[in-house]
Amino acid sequence: MEKIKVIHYINQFFAQIGGEEEAGHPVEFFPGEVKGPGMAFNQAFGDEAEIIGTVVCGDGFFNENIDDTTEKILAWVEEQKPDLFIAGPAFNAGRYGVACGTMAAAVQEKLGIPAVTGMYVENPGADMFKDKVYIASTKNSAAGMRDAVKVMAPLGLKLARGEEIGASCQDGYIPQGIRVNFFEEERGSKRAVKMLLAKLAGKPYTTEYPMPAFDRVDPQPAVKDMAHATIALVTSGGIVPKGNPDAIESSNASHYGEYDITGVNDLTSDEYETAHGGYDPTYANEDADRVLPVDVLRDMEKEGKIGKLYDKFYTTVGNGTAVASAKAFAEEIGAKLKADGVDAVILTST
């Protein structure tokens, strides 16, 4: 039997071109080449399939040129006529997740070629694409590569062969909101009692009917009188006073910073920098106003366009940071700002 042909998409990091400083690396296609995690996939495929080419793109480049890059890659893939497209896995890398999800969905939808990718469930790309393509559920870092390949390779082969895909709990993908019927070995009453006993004993158990989480917040009313409003700045871009006095982590931040900017008219490279480890820091370190626009808001304060720029700014690093942490930080920040009479917030993200 002929081997299943696979095209693999990876970012600049997994292609070993470089880290954040290479995030702007333009998209490239390497026919006949197997790179990075592609080796592990080839091994897992055995004689059944092989990677016939690798697409490499910087995560920043992809996200800043989504439409053009997608078109370009689609053209390459179409020419190669693979039986399967694999993207990533992206783990908890947000921009990589968006790139993998975009490409997997586009290849499947536009070219009719089955596609699979892999992500950590909190990757924003997972929510965006889980109902469009199969996304293997992975750990949150590349340490989970071996496990990810173990799920993605067989899932991909099944898709390429047109075999039936089982339920998410059987084939290891992130639930798509589609019910798949199968026979459980134990009857319902027995499973329910087991779950109840586990719950009473404080042991872990898995519900069979998770409640959907529709977490939306109604928009607050608009600011009526901007000329007298107090505006606060918040960022997930990691801007901190030089030296990062509160040691906010460059990824998976455990806390946020609160810094006084009374009398500060401009964030200079002598006084401010970024602690963020998930984007090229060159530009933010040169001029932190590029992430946190203190200079412009001071001008507008002087001109009377806004009432006041709030005396403090709040900052954390939104790089692989757990949703639960970000939520907890912002609850505190929101309560403080509200109590201090702030009228509205500009929140900047990188």
Binding site: E64, V98, V223, I231, A284, K338, V345, T348, S349
Partner: protein
Amino acid sequence: MVKEIERAGLPVVHDCTVTPISLTVGANRIVPTIAIPHPLGDPAQTPEEEKKIRRAIVEKSLQALQTEVDGQTVFKD
């Protein structure tokens, strides 16, 4: 973060480059920015030009905060 601050009772405008992420996460007022490593700047321009670009984004953000919305809204040009 945008959502939790808004939940506390303050209108929030999210200035970001990858707007699809912001939409997925649930921001209500969204203003697109220049690039991931420099959302409110463009190092390719002169400092004066760059500040003008930044000012334009901040003005748009303030405009967004003064606009009533009944759902997620991306404030494009």
